[in-house]
Subunit: 245 residues, 6 copies
């Protein structure tokens, strides 16, 4: 049945876009990564600051948070600069909350000590999947920031728990596909973002039927695609970080 | 294994809280519902206004949107009034975007004509599950607003497609439970909100591992609980609306 | 002369609407009251917090303040949510300042100790007189919050001074009337809100000639109506609070 | 009884401060007045603009509105600039709403045509009574703006109805006094602002018991003082405007 | 060549407008000056507050900063009140940053001790050159505030370094002119603001070609005019301050 | 005298950093340039939109404007995201106003027709000179956007007037230097940004004595350095754009 449906990109249904993870992309941040999922390009920087937010003071733990932004012309048409409009939109807040929650799963906050690591994900070119690229690249920047803390002997134990990556899956003309680009994303029936741990378990699942609805077996088929793509992403992260296998 | 784990409320693992749906709760709105999931109480009003947002003008369709708020002392400790702080927080925006997307699945926007229905969900007492109660009650208010449009002969065809309801499920001490109240919600390992159509398909799934992660079989076990609870919610909605079976 | 003028509601000129004061309306607040002046319904919660605003620190006294809001569809047509617009309007600020000043007259701030009591007045249905209902109901919630502080032995002496209530009076087609509902309020020549102490003295008087002006004898006639209505309100408050006569 | 109470300024109880009204104070505005009540100095400019606010369009009438501000160092200690803080405070909004309502009583809006007159009242030095000085001086600026419209033949009939002035009265150590300056205002038991028409009727009364309460006979005694002071203010306005007696 | 070009005001090309500097213009501020450059009138107040901004704490120095505003009708047409719009515009921020930087050149911040002096420049009437008048008048207010600190023995050494003044120059129909008023400013080819020290050196130069561009010899010709005008301004400042020559 | 003063970078006093201009850096914008002045890296995109701002409607001309931003970790320490703080700071507004004015000198707005070109300059790595790099790179992006309009036959005549570039000069330990990097910029006595036209004339000059002041001959020495560096920048721009010499 699926034989006569083609993805706009010509990719196979289970084929992710090319992934590139470039570390040390900018000079100042403790972790700085350019992550590319095809034409989606995001600069992820991890910044270490001493101290924690007010509501965590004295609790002998650290904090990991994220902020997300898009350059105004990362997209096909220019969107107004959020700084000029005076507030971050709902979509931005929703995404940065997702990134922050996901990256906290990579870290043992107790072992982080009273430091805050802020991961800024700034999209310089968007073609679908900016939040999944941000989580995947942001995790690499986060590891670099943790390594910086250890190298500088600011912490003694290792707060790194596990790699976290994220991929989108969806139903395109009724069939499950992985890593939707913008043309697919804007016409997909269902769009789902999955955040995974290296052990293959789920950290977060957010699936939305843009039109219609989806059944349990479709959900599971999409999650199968996400599992496979996640394994590839972890390999990219490990290679970028020089982790021995 | 689960025999020695008890929910704080004493409820069975697959037992939802008592649901009450009171229509015509306030006088002015085209649809006005007080929805109660146990001690969680939300006023949902659906307001009809002629016209659509700027970006939909001339497209011969209507729009359904939602706004969400909490009275400052709906919760255990008073939280600052968002109007006084000068902006809606990220959690608020995330929730109202979810409610809006979910309720649009109940409506054929083309048949709605150039009307906007705004569903305001204001929590007067919170005990977990405010967003799921908002969607479930909001859908009833939305149906009343649509009926108003038809009764007033402002539209000729029926834009109502299907009832939508929503329930939370989660992993509490490792076991799947349904309809988490605040004590469970604040200590659950995983929290998932599921939005369902009457046919039992999913409109939206948002699951978060607050600590750790969750496996595929746990996900499916939680969704089984959601399916069962959803069927009960649809019965409550139908009874409140006086739908013949 | 007045024989041929009828109030829209059919009430006598000196007849207030039915008043209902329901204590313990919601669960979490130290004081929680639903107050109804006819179809005007306001939830008043009094929240106790340790500490005082910065400008009172070290002055060995407490503080009582109020915030006011309307659910978007409390009114005939939906008004924009202030949280979404990013600021409280002038009318809102004016009303909540009035409520706060009025309620402070009920309390000996020195005896309150370094606690702040915030009275939130949220209108769920509006039909004129929302500020007078807020003051009248808010005072009952305030008393409950003070009793909570005493019961919990957080303060030793009693900061409660006197009950405060409030009623609107006005000139409708030239004749003095009490407790204006929305149809009267929107067409009254003069509208006056009076805040009273139990001894029958005035705490605050705010009278506005919406069109034309008013004479001294009209003012005094309106105040006579307020005195009579105030006595009834104090009886309602005392009964709700279970005060012995 | 009052013989041994002296006002801080040494004025008699019924003695207002010296009033000066300087027209054409700045060059650009259609009406520009410097009004001085003793050491309180306010620049009142009336600006004419074609058109009316959106909600009045097509109603064949004009609009009169007011804005109020204080230079940061008009007061004893510097207060933050509202433009820098990003919003007008509640006191500012309350005052400018009062000024606007009061000045609209001077004008027949129907005869004004579709023009908006904005009266800006900017306090350059504050010593109590800034809102009463603003109304009194603002009315003179408003008359000049109306005369400008007539002189330029932009309107044919005369929208000016009557002069409006305003004075504060209060209870100082229990005794009624008129035109409170800052030392009196900050220690008065009761503070009342009265807005009057030339015929001696009241447009607005706002009385607040800062501590304690006030009785009916005290209210009437204060209003007697306001009547007498109002007559003086109207004489000042008429003289400044060159009105024949 | 210049013989047939006349300035709109009839002034000679090197002729500044009449300058008036009135000290002690308002009562409360430690320094208060009304400065007039022809029809441009600015109230400059210097306010002393104990303490320094957070980022200077513990650095054993003081701070001088400036804020700038315009009354809404200081200009030909009314411009919206920045406090009402909820933010200061870019022009305002640019000007107040310039004033602050310029005035800091008048003071030895180390000798000022941990005090902050805020110079508020509020334009009550604008006719070109508001920023240059603000700097020139603001410096006199600043000196008065420093003298206050010394007189009150709050500081022991003298932080005053030098007088600072400012003048605009420009190219009007191709020819260099000094102290542009509004008609010149709005049609000038080039507009330049120069901030000078008493020794004739430059503190700040900001030149903009509104249309076209300017050559080096034109720049130097304009700066020659600024030098001459600056000498006159310093004489005005010294005379106002009663400095012996 | 200068023989024993060395720049931190080891560069000669008249030596600019390496300049790289990469066109077509991102995909969506009509003009997209990565400009590098040494370690300062700015993405400049030029976006074409039909229509002009309200105040230009009907004037038969176009508009060119600029916005400026820094990624939070473009700098040594993370600075708060302006979108999250809810407003653009004074420095940002000052810079983007400068960029906009400068770039308008490159264009004949009458020939642009009713189009708006917005040049977004987003700093991804900062090491001094971000505003001069933004102008220099932004001009190239602007030319590409103009060529797009011509290629798409949206305009018939050529609105491009001239190339514009910008360079910083300053006094470092008393000696004139060109193209200051961050270490120089933060310790320079005087800092000046010069915007030049290809003919060698000045479009804008902004010089500030951070400490002390500067003399006329120093100003002219700095401008000599700017002239020389400007010639190099124009060569870089022309080469990047493929202009024949």
């Amino acid at each position: 049945m699926s034989s006569d449906i083609r993805r706009p990109s010509g990719r196979a249904f289970d084929q992710s876009r090319e992934v590139r993870i470039t570390r040390d992309y900018t000079r100042h941040a403790e972790g700085s990564v350019l992550v590319e999922f095809g034409d989606t390009k995001v600069i992820c920087t991890a910044s270490v600051e001493a101290g924690v937010p007010r509501w965590l003071r004295g609790k002998r733990q650290g904090w990991v948070t994220a902020e997300y932004g898009m350059l105004p012309r990362a997209t096909h048409t220019r969107s107004g600069r959020e700084a000029a409009r005076g507030k971050q939109g709902g979509r931005t807040l929703e995404i940065q909350r997702l990134i922050g929650r996901s990256l906290r799963a990579a870290v043992n906050l107790k072992k982080l000590g009273e430091f805050t690591i802020t991961v800024d994900c700034d999209v310089i070119q968007a073609d679908g999947g900016t939040r999944t690229a941000s989580i995947t690249g942001g995790c690499v920047a986060l590891v670099d920031a943790i390594r910086h803390l250890q190298r500088e002997k600011l912490i003694s134990s290792d707060p790194f728990k596990q790699l976290i990556s994220s991929i989108s899956v969806g139903l395109y003309k009724g069939l499950p596909v992985v890593d939707l680009d913008y043309p697919e994303d804007s016409s997909a029936d269902t769009d789902m973002n999955v955040v995974l741990s290296e052990s293959g378990e789920m950290i977060e699942v957010q699936g939305t039927a843009e039109s219609g609805s989806f059944k349990r077996e479709q959900l599971n088929a999409m999650l199968d695609l996400a599992d496979k793509a996640g394994a590839e992403l972890f390999a990219h992260q490990r290679e970028a970080l020089g982790f021995c296998k």
